[in-house]
Amino acid sequence: MNPSFSINPVSDLNQLLQYPFMVNALQAGTIVAVIAALVGWFVVLRRETFVCHTLSVMSFPGASGAALAGLPLAPGYFLFAVGGALAIAFGSRVGGRRSAMQESAVVGTVGAVALGLGFLFLSLYGGILESVETLLFGSFVGISAGQVQTLLVVAALAAAVLAVIGRPLFYASVDERSANADGVPVRALSVIFLVLLGLAVAAIAQIVGVLLTFALLVAPAATAQLITARVRLSLALALALAVSETWAAMTLSYFTNVALGFAVTTIALALYAVARAVRELRG
């Protein structure tokens, strides 16, 4: 039976949940949305969206490298994303200090090397890697219960780390000089945060794909911060937006066969555009 969308939400929900793969997908999508919103909120605050984009590109060599080595794809994703995060964290330092100019150069270079390595692994592998389209734009058809568990572990770990470093990370993100003078380990926090971002990106890229990870991490958080300047409210709003955008995109994708990544980005972009337009109109 082909799924068909109706105005009856109960029948829609029943259709959505009739296949185990779809239940796994919804669970995975929800976990991914939560972690994307939490980590992405700090990405937007710290203006590290370029780093975030580059780390999502790391998933390409991660996946093709894992295929080449005959491993499952997930370890490849995590290894390359975290490796990229460490390369950026330490490569951006000049004489022990974070340098904005070096960071931008290192991030760009790491991104280019990642793409090059990805193609190298792919050509050495020779075979067909799932399909490159799925790798780039995501698919929720093949998510296993095991993958959902891996995601849950990564998400719990990231949330636990954020719960411990949340306040000083916020301090270092908005007011680095004061935080540093107040004894906040600003440099260590920036490394920890980048590794956390690498983990989150690797987890998200497995669901929405390499190219569109960025949208789920950045758009809900940016939209929330546009709507309110209250810290807790904007965090809660980012969470609510990311989860509802993911559910909406999965529903849309399920009933229409539109690629998931496309659905997520379109919905996320539309909400961001509305929030932005409202702000601009209000002056």
Binding site: A163, G166, R167, P168, S178, D182, T228, A229, V231
Partner: protein, 270 residues
């Protein structure tokens, strides 16, 4: 009563070269002291030394009765040249709160109504009222004017009820009325709460009627005294080892002429 800050024969080096050496400085409780001197003379370095962020090469330093850095919780600090552009979507109030507990590990969870949380909230309301920032503390900091941002940042530095307040160029990039109102705010805090204030400035004029004393850094040395004693042709010429002339204009503003490294700052009208 012992001094709040005491430097004896203090020498500080940075990147292999000496910033200043053999400096003796004392700050008494409740004093409002202006830290002056040309760019690169080591004014900010002086504040960093007091915070324990800068090591002492020789001599001794005592801050609030202990080695620099040990009494950090009792010092309020406003770093140099911070401003927040419009894209920073964080309320002024949240920034002030970071001055109270920003360095503490953990994450404040929503809906907290514990005793500590309400005490913190009351303290933040109080410092915001003290600096007169109540009208805009709930606006995003990026939408506040330079003067408003500076008042909020001073509130942040005051959050822990410090005994010593270190302000690095708080008047920088403010217009003249705001320079005057921030100077008078700092003097009032100093007098009413007996806070010792060291304020770094590159122009003494907006501060002249408020300061108790100035410390003038130049050429690796420091001279201290009342503005009338220090900002004179003789004292500054001796400090610089060059012909410097101090002129008093009919409106009372001081103009330092021929000062190396910073020709147009003193008395220059913004």
């Amino acid at each position: 009563m012992s001094a709040v800050v005491e430097l004896r024969g203090a020498t500080v080096t940075r990147g292999g070269s000496t910033v200043w050496s053999g400096v003796d400085i004392e700050l008494a409780a409740g004093e409002f002291v202006g830290i002056l001197g040309p760019n690169g003379a080591g004014k900010s370095t002086f504040l960093e030394l007091l915070l324990g962020l800068q090591a002492l090469q020789a001599g001794s330093a005592t801050v609030l009765g202990a080695a620099p850095g040990e009494r950090r919780q009792r010092i309020g600090y406003l770093p140099q040249r911070r401003s927040f552009d419009e894209s920073v979507r964080v309320r002024g109030r949240d920034l002030v709160a970071l001055g109270l507990d920003g360095a503490r590990w953990g994450t404040p969870l929503p809906g907290g109504f514990g005793a500590r949380r309400s005490a913190a909230r009351a303290r933040i309301d109080a410092v915001i009222a003290e600096v007169g920032a109540g009208a805009y503390a709930n606006r995003p900091i990026g939408e506040c004017s330079g003067g408003e941002q500076q008042r909020l940042l001073i509130a942040q530095a005051l959050a822990r009820s410090p005994e010593l307040l270190l302000l690095d160029e708080p008047l920088d990039s403010l217009d003249l009325p705001n320079q005057a109102s921030v100077s008078s705010l700092v003097q009032r805090l100093c007098r009413e709460q007996n806070i010792t204030v060291a304020l770094v400035a590159h122009d003494v004029n907006p501060l002249l009627s408020y300061l108790d004393r100035v410390i003038y850094f130049a050429r690796g040395r420091a001279v201290s005294g009342t503005p009338a004693e220090v900002i004179t042709t003789d004292t500054l010429s001796a400090l610089y080892g060059a012909g410097v002339e101090v002129l008093r204009r009919s409106d009372g503003r001081l103009v330092v002429v021929g000062q190396p490294d910073m020709p147009a700052h003193h008395g220059h009208e913004h």
